[in-house]
Symmetry: C2
Subunit: 345 residues, 2 copies
């Protein structure tokens, strides 16, 4: 079968690899029908990661059809259309029961699983009963992009909004105009934010953000961005900040645009980020929350709004190609020519 | 009148100063009947503060009787028995309305107000209508200690519990066995925590903590404390951590004993504290919240339980003296011979 392997910064290839098969009795084998390239896949692509000698299998967002199940799998059968969140989870441990599947005591992140990845023709899925979400629809090309975002970016934007405590009538800011930030705009609007300020610099993304519900756009950075947000909020700052980048600059901006008592929901994996302990965090009673989104927990809540068209996160995919075009997808995203790439099979 | 002035580390004196009087039309003049020495007063006492040339007026926790009001004061009259929270507030701004009086756009902390302080015979109280809380009782010696704690330590312990998201049936840990930590135990129990682990080292304080509701005591520090808390919680850690110290060690311990998805409510003013941005905070989806407690906002909620005796935070006062004994009170607290000192007039 064909799979995506990254050997080093900028060096991503699609290669023939041994077919994935069931190994553990709790595994399922999924034939992939849609996969995505994630903004976080760009961290290793840009050199912010270590590489295995055999290369890193890539991809942690996919939808597919169950082709086989291990002897212990109870909730899935051959032919089921399923979505795979970006982390595996047993569905039964104390953290899964609490809705925090990314801290499952038995689960892990796809990127830590050797020899499996979603940007491939097939995937062996560990802990299949707890990990895979059976989709309540048939194959439907029009719905697939939006459903695919629930495996990561839309769930992550939603997690940012939830942990930033977005509430009806409040003011939210979304820091970052990547696919997650754009989904954060969708989530903030869905949770009732009255004013949604999107901070970013890419005109096409900002335009999409406006159609998703952003009421104000701030293209400045650093101190100038902070001044602009204050000006837009009566001098007070915002109630909720969705930090969707993960750099130190985005974090400092997020902390500075939150009003006293405000909350920052951060979902950008932090890279060399500093969180000051005293001002403004302590003295302004800021709440800093967030982390890897428990996508598996959010399907039930988000799927109805995808199916009825109230939210359309699938619009973040502006690059579509087959598996041979995966390297083009990485390049397009790296060069910011594409917001997000979807791979069809 | 007599007032308390600190001139440098360890150098606190009670001196005759000009009588406080009404200056602004929104002022009230309060004749103090009870005052307290705060754990945070020990920071300058131990050298962690700058000193004004004329010395620092001390004291931000007091109860007294209104002796005079400025022309704009509407809600108070001569003879009212009032409690003063540790910050002034106008009661009308956006943050006061949101219940975050410590971020009032016109208010400030007593420690930043020149020539006024609660460890004195009288105090000019700015923004009196918004700041002072009229007590719904007459002078009653038995109730005064508990009511006095509402100006700071009990409100602060409550704030730690609220921001640490203590909920019925959950497990809380209280880091620090000072007066705030002990009030944190009261607050955690009051909010329904099922298991309350108190981390501290002073036997008399830990004993009082047990009577307040602590179910487990951990006297270890650092890594050993973390191991002990994990052992007490099935290996998972606690849902809520009330960080009531403000040192880096207490913060790192707090972050390490929180289970994934847990919350840290910090109320110890941070001194040289580092908050790591990635592990464990981000990857464990920890929520870090807290700051200066909006004591003014909590009176309404806490006073009924003080009056009916359900909570007895006044028991933290184990040193009682008149104003001439203020320096003794500082020494006793500094040497950990006293948990907290109350000054009577």
């Amino acid at each position: 079968m064909q799979a995506t392997i990254m050997y080093g910064p900028g060096d991503v290839r699609v290669e023939n690899v041994p077919d994935s098969t069931i190994i553990e009795p709790s595994d399922a084998l999924v034939v992939v029908t849609r996969a995505a390239i994630c903004g976080s896949d760009l961290w290793p692509y840009r050199g912010y990661a270590q590489f295995r000698e055999a290369g890193n299998r890539m991809g942690h967002e996919f939808i597919g059809v169950v082709a086989d199940v291990g002897s212990e799998v109870r909730n899935l059968k051959k032919g089921d259309l399923v979505a795979a969140p970006f982390a595996t989870s047993d569905g039964t441990c104390v953290f899964c029961q609490a809705g925090l599947h990314t801290s499952c005591v038995h689960g892990t992140f796809w990127d830590l699983i050797d020899l499996e990845g979603g940007q491939a023709e097939a995937v062996r899925v560990p802990l299949a009963d707890g990990t895979l979400y059976p989709l309540p629809v048939d194959q439907d090309d029009a719905l697939m992009p939006a459903l695919l975002t629930l495996t990561d970016v839309m769930a992550t934007g939603h997690h940012a909004a939830v942990t930033a405590q977005v509430k009806p009538g409040k003011i939210a800011a979304v820091v970052g105009d990547g696919a997650v930030g754009l989904c954060g705009v969708i989530a903030a609007k869905r949770l009732g934010a009255e004013q949604i300020i999107l901070l970013g610099r890419q005109p096409d993304r900002l335009a999409l953000g406006k159609t998703f519900g952003a009421t104000d756009i701030v293209t400045e950075r650093g101190e100038e961005a902070v001044a602009k947000v204050r000006q837009l909020t009566g001098g007070y700052g915002v109630h909720s900040v969705l930090e969707c980048v993960g750099t130190d600059l985005s974090m400092q901006t997020s902390l500075s645009i939150a009003r006293p008592g405000g909350a920052i929901g951060r979902v950008g994996v932090p890279h060399d980020v500093t969180i000051p302990a005293a001002a403004p965090t302590f003295f302004n009673n800021l709440t800093i929350s967030g982390g890897p989104a428990p996508s598996r927990a959010y399907f039930d809540e988000l799927i109805p709004d995808v199916l009825n068209g109230r939210i359309q996160p699938g619009r973040v995919f502006d690059f579509v190609g087959d598996i041979s075009q995966v390297p083009d997808g990485y390049r397009a995203m790296d060069e910011r020519r594409a917001i997000k790439a979807m791979i069809t099979f």
